[in-house]
Symmetry: C2
């Protein structure tokens, strides 16, 4: 009899962890992803802000799993799941499974505004990051050629919507580039006059973090020159800027870091979901009625007993869930019943703001400034998959830190797209 | 009286060298380019074959010139030149000049086949390189999912048309990746069974190099497993492969490295051109009738007394021409007449084929193998503009050499384009 077939959909932190943790289990593993690479998403904002190249934070999934003989990798798009037939539908063909792990993550939510994505790109994929980088660098180029004062000011105004970790990191990096990195490169404009405005609908930045962290992060952002506007909701976004109720801000660049929506794969399961499209899972992360189907990571709505809320949609939660379902599947593959409940261990939260500035909440203690920044850098490099990437990233950070330069300031692609030039 | 205004169009080797050599001249310099970066084109094939990231071989032009106070940089597209009015037309507005240096280079020529560019991308820009990388990596992914044997064989057949330096370098790198880098990553296909077929219409590879070099390069290519077909012309390219007269080769990937056509900017001058659209310049590199307009680099048809032909369209020629016109303009700006003739100094030719394999022709002597490869690596790193890039590239080469791995094997962008994911 052949070994049970485990299909894992999604090569992010959750899916890849599950695959790796099954390496000694008596199962065959198939990991399906529509991208060929695992992306180290916590550092994606550094690609968007020209610090790192895409290859520094991404590894081909099949390369990561090359030594794991019981695993194969397929580049394909999953179009749906039929739990009653135990089948995953792909863009071409389908896959039968004995166990299924759904880890397709989340995408942006623009709260139903269909035209906002065009004007305000979000940051989830490498292509997103390159698009934001292109628009950001292009804004200074256009301002350099613009003779009208008001138009130039709008070009040099950058709006970031949403002050979660991504929004805070983007805003901090942008003001740093404008004030420290590129002023000498331009002859006409003063890049340090650029405005970076960070909007947050809630009353503090980093709303998912402890309150003390928010206070510290707000102080750091203001000191760096970011204009932070709390408790205000952007009501309109178009190609010339944003509106906040009656108030209008001309801005050549708007970036969306606000809403998150679980990927649509979850809906095909036909089980209860929350408002963000996340699947409400059982305590063991399986779905109601189908004990062999697990949902993990950003796609899962998982209750966290200790905090009373849900497990936050960040890498540590996804990794822990991936490990948990791998353990469950491994023991079930050995004909044991295993429905152990998942329990989230909060190891702390980290966000970086700028050069030598970060904030961290670790076992109830809040730290900021240099110590937090060193911790942040250490943790992120440690977790970057692939030894080569680690070395390259460290070298680039060190170099950028000393010289205030950024290596990846290229404008490529563009609306003409790849067919163009 | 204000200083003479020198407009340089194009930030490649020729234009950038001219700008830098004018740094102490009593002139104002404006460099116009439609890209924001100078590209180290000799290493572009390494981006296409996943060895380097775009940022490793490109620097923002305004960053390169940031300390040169008499120079400014404009990101704009030049749409034409009116030498009688001394005006360059841009996509928006125009620029008046006292001296003009046209260095807009060359693009691909598909010999009038309008549909070939879609099926067989060429390699001139970063976007070209990323597109080739995407197609190349995607071919293996598709083959891994393909169950039909004939279709799979076609997917794993790569055709390179044209055996100049770019074609030879691409073919060598591709066979190396298929046989050495990725075999372990795939479970179904044997990537080392991939075929790389290199077509050259002339009777030897590297036709612009001395004959002894061609012999050596051919031997190296064959030993590595490249199928070289000389004296044969591809007569048809479509999305399923190529035809050579009645013969048909199924190939999922075709790359164009054959024809070169000077950029269309030259045509607007209204002066004599050669068959490839290059401007026939006077001995001092100015154009007939307009002593203040110079054409350099790949856009110029420059006779080389010693070889009897034209100066080859490679970096050394462009750099020497840039230096020459800068000197001429500097002395004319000081009210001296200067119409010194340009004389090309051939310092040698280099091409790399694979790991530890290269060929070089230096002052009449031909060398191959390891010594040529070390020389090649040394020269290329030496010329890479920007200290950071040099370090990063060396580190990546060393790492790849030891481990046989390549860091930039990402599939990004794609036909869906940047709007997509």
């Amino acid at each position: 009899m052949s070994q049970p077939h485990v299909v894992i959909v999604g090569g992010g932190f959750g899916g890849l962890t599950a695959a790796r943790c099954l390496r000694r289990a008596p199962v065959r593993v198939t990991l399906v992803d529509r991208e060929n690479h695992h992306l180290f998403q916590p550092l994606l904002y550094q690609v968007a802000t020209a610090m790192l190249s895409p290859a520094d934070i991404a590894s081909p999934i099949r390369h990561v799993l090359r030594r794991q003989r019981n695993a194969r990798v397929i580049l394909a798009e999953v179009t749906g799941v039929d739990p009653s037939r135990r089948v995953v539908a792909l863009d071409e063909g389908e896959l039968e499974y004995d166990f299924l792990v759904l880890a397709t993550g989340a995408t942006h939510s623009y709260f139903g505004h269909a035209d906002w994505p065009t004007h305000a790109p979000g940051l989830k994929t490498i292509d997103d990051a390159l698009e934001i980088r292109r628009r950001f660098m292009l804004a200074f180029e256009r301002a350099e050629r613009q003779e009208d004062g008001a138009a130039r000011r709008a070009m040099l105004t950058f709006v970031v919507v949403g002050a979660g970790p991504t929004g805070v990191e983007l805003a901090g990096a942008m003001i740093e580039i404008a004030r420290r990195v590129i002023p000498r490169d331009f002859r006409v404009i003063d890049t340090s006059s650029a405005r970076v405005i960070l909007f947050e609908a809630q009353d503090r930045v980093l709303p998912a973090f402890p309150a003390a962290i928010s206070v510290r992060a707000l102080r750091d952002l203001k000191r760096m020159g970011v204009e932070v506007r709390l408790g205000e909701t952007v009501t309109r976004i178009d190609d010339r800027g944003v509106s906040i109720g009656p108030e209008r801000i001309g801005a050549g660049n708007v970036i969306w870091a606000a809403g998150v929506q679980a990927s649509p794969t979850g809906a095909s399961l036909g089980v209860p979901m929350d408002d963000n499209g996340r699947v409400r899972v059982e305590p063991d992360l399986s779905i109601p009625g189908y004990g062999e189907v697990f949902v993990i990571g950003d796609l899962a709505h998982v209750l966290d007993e200790r905090s009373g809320g849900t497990v936050p949609g960040m890498a540590p939660g996804a990794i822990q869930m991936g490990r948990h379902v791998a353990r469950t599947i491994a023991s079930r593959a050995k004909d044991r019943t295993d429905t152990r409940a998942f329990r989230f261990v909060d190891k702390g939260m980290l966000a970086t703001i700028g050069r030598g500035r970060a904030v961290a909440a670790i076992s109830g203690r809040c730290i900021g400034g240099w110590p937090a920044w060193v911790l942040w850098a250490f943790v992120h490099v440690l977790f970057l998959i692939g030894f080569r990437n680690r070395l390259a990233v460290m070298a680039q950070w060190a170099w950028a830190y000393v010289t205030y330069q950024r290596g990846a300031r290229l404008i490529t692609g563009g609306p003409k797209g790849r067919e163009g030039t």
